[in-house]
């Protein structure tokens, strides 16, 4: 079991990880997902002390590895690591890459090491390339060798840092299927990945990282089907969000419509849908503009879920409580038009604002 207590890490003044505490059970397969730059690599590298945490403790089993004077090399033997950029020893052949550490660290005899190595190379399906140099391999082949090299040290846990990100799409599968094999054999893995399907199928637990920590964690179905928190939702559903806030007294309708159209085009919505959305916005805004008094503000949020192709519009304003669509001041035709274009319209009052949620 790996226990992490109050782990913090910053680069210079830049706080990356803040006070993370989490336990990882033996045999668990953890998928770490999250936006770029959120600290996934930093987190996983702290685990085997490739980065020195600023504070906090890490326990592997009962032993604290962050204690001073701990034999870091012995710790690292238990924690294999596979990098995005393979990091094979470029001057050594595939076989030499795999036998080097077993011979030098575990002090295996050469015969023993070669025998083991060939077994692992067989397992990742690349034994026939044993005498090639890394430069003669494709990316997928390199990564499989890196995995074999890692396995040859019999680690208890393997840390993967985006093992397929540097690969041509056609080579991703061969690497993922090797990782699946490992997982099936019962090895603990911690995998940073952008392959959501893979994470969903393979992981026993998913960590979504954001805001300098583990923002949300749970089983794959929790995270992927029922994400609870805002940022997780945006990330998981590949929500493309538009938001704009405007002072009613200074509003420029055409600028708003331009922004909305651009947003729609950017995410490749078709003409009809783009028209729908801009029309809805136009109707809503023009109706409210008529009622301009002093410092009313309106806000427009658009959300496009790329996964299920659903779209959502949200309007907020700080008018007095009122469901505009039922107000006599709102043009009747406009209401009809908006209702015709949407699947559902919901009104609620929230934080002193009128909130309208429209689903397309």
């Amino acid at each position: 079991m790996i226990s992490i207590r109050n782990l913090s890490k910053s680069y210079g003044d830049n706080l990356i990880l803040k006070d993370i505490s989490v336990d990882i059970e033996d045999g668990a397969v953890i998928a770490i997902i999250g936006p770029s730059g959120c600290g996934k690599s930093t987190f996983i590298r702290c685990l085997n002390l490739l980065e020195q945490p600023d504070s906090g403790q890490i326990f592997i089993g009962a032993a604290e590895i962050t204690k001073k004077g701990v034999n870091i090399d012995a710790v690292r033997q238990k924690l294999g690591m596979v990098f995005q950029s393979f990091n094979l020893f470029s001057h050594k052949t595939v076989l030499e890459n795999v036998i080097l550490a077993p011979m030098k660290v575990l002090k295996l005899s050469q015969e023993q090491a070669v025998r083991d190595a060939l077994e692992y190379l067989e397992m990742v399906g690349i034994a026939n390339r044993a005498d090639h140099l890394p430069s003669q391999l494709s990316g997928g082949q390199k990564q499989r060798v890196a995995i074999a090299r890692c396995l040859a040290m019999h680690p208890e846990v393997i840390l993967f840092d985006e093992p397929t990100s540097a690969l041509d799409p056609t080579m991703v599968d061969e690497v993922l299927s090797v990782i699946r094999k490992l997982v099936r054999s019962g090895l603990s893995c911690i995998i940073v990945t952008h392959e959501m399907n893979f994470a969903k199928n393979v992981a026993t637990k998913v960590f979504y990282m954001d805001e300098k920590g583990i923002y949300e964690s749970g089983t794959p179905s929790d995270i992927f089907e029922r994400p609870q928190r805002e940022k997780t939702k945006i990330f998981i559903n590949k929500l493309k969000v538009f938001s704009g806030e405007y002072k009613l007294s200074e509003i420029d309708l055409y600028e708003i419509l331009r922004q909305v159209t651009e947003y729609c085009l950017k995410y490749d919505m078709n003409k009809r849908e783009t028209n729908k959305i801009t029309l809805i916005c136009e109707e809503y805004v023009t109706n409210l503009m008529k009622r301009r008094v002093s410092d009313e503000r309106i806000a427009i949020f658009l959300r496009y879920n790329e996964n299920d192709d659903s779209k959502e519009i949200m309007f907020k304003d700080n008018f007095s409580p009122e469901n505009h669509f039922e107000s006599p001041d709102f043009d009747e035709m406009s209401v009809l038009l908006i209702k015709g274009f949407t699947k559902s319209v919901e009104y609620r009052r929230e934080n002193g604002q009128n909130v309208f949620e429209l689903k397309l």
Partner: protein
């Protein structure tokens, strides 16, 4: 034509055969080889040491080393030779050849420090990390991963450095050591035949250069052979 050949014959006779002068040249050649070899060996060690210190995490140490090697590079070799012979080791009974080797080696070492440092810098940091995560100590990683690649990177410049060192050793004339250059000068001053011994010196230096180039290439090849062997086993 016959005259010309006779001229060359005479010249060869007088410069080489007469009074066994070729022995003088051969001894000089041997001295040059010895100086070059020892200087380069010691220089490599010094360079490695400097480089190691320069890579040190202690910035005082690394800055001192950078400062020192810059000083050694900027001081003319002759001045270094003088400082070594007449200031630092003035009161010792170390023989001049050893002193000269030491002075040259300091100079060569400073250059080699630069060469090694930049070769090491070009080794992929990722491979070092990979080595560490496999449980190798930092020294093991250095020895097994960094060094072999650094050596490969540095080899062409390192080879040129050997040639430079070889030519620099001719400065031992300052300490009246009879190396190749000096030997040919002695002969020339005896015969006042201006060209032959220059030709001989030139040829000798070219020869050493070519042979050393060849040796380096063989060393390279041997490594390849080793690898092939190892795989076939």
């Amino acid at each position: 034509m016959a005259d010309f050949i006779q001229g060359i014959k005479d010249s060869v006779y007088l410069n080489l055969i007469y009074e066994d002068r070729y022995l003088f040249l051969i001894k000089g050649f041997g001295m040059t080889l010895y100086l070059t070899f020892m200087t380069f060996l010691l220089g490599t060690l010094i360079g490695a040491l400097f480089c190691k210190l320069r890579l040190s995490k202690n910035s005082t140490v690394s800055k001192t080393v950078i400062w020192l090697k810059t000083l050694f590079i900027r001081l003319p070799t002759l001045v270094l030779l003088i400082i070594f012979t007449y200031l630092i080791f003035a009161d010792t009974s170390i023989d001049t050849v050893t002193l000269a080797i030491f002075a040259f080696a300091i100079k060569t070492g400073s250059y080699i420090c630069d060469i090694m440092y930049s070769a090491i810098e070009t080794v992929d940091k990722g491979e070092i990390e990979a080595g560490r995560t496999l449980g190798m100590s930092s020294f093991m990683v250095f020895r097994l991963v960094v060094l072999p690649q650094a050596i490969k990177n540095a080899l062409p410049v390192y080879k040129n450095q050997l040639i430079i060192t070889m030519q620099e050793t001719s400065l031992v004339g300052f300490l009246a050591i009879n190396d190749l250059t000096r030997a040919s000068q002695v002969i020339t001053s005896r015969t006042m035949d201006p060209y032959l011994s220059i030709v001989i010196t030139a040829v000798a230096y070219l020869l050493i250069g070519a042979v050393s180039g060849l040796l380096f290439r063989l060393a390279d090849r041997e490594k390849h052979l080793c690898r092939a062997d190892f795989i076939n086993k």
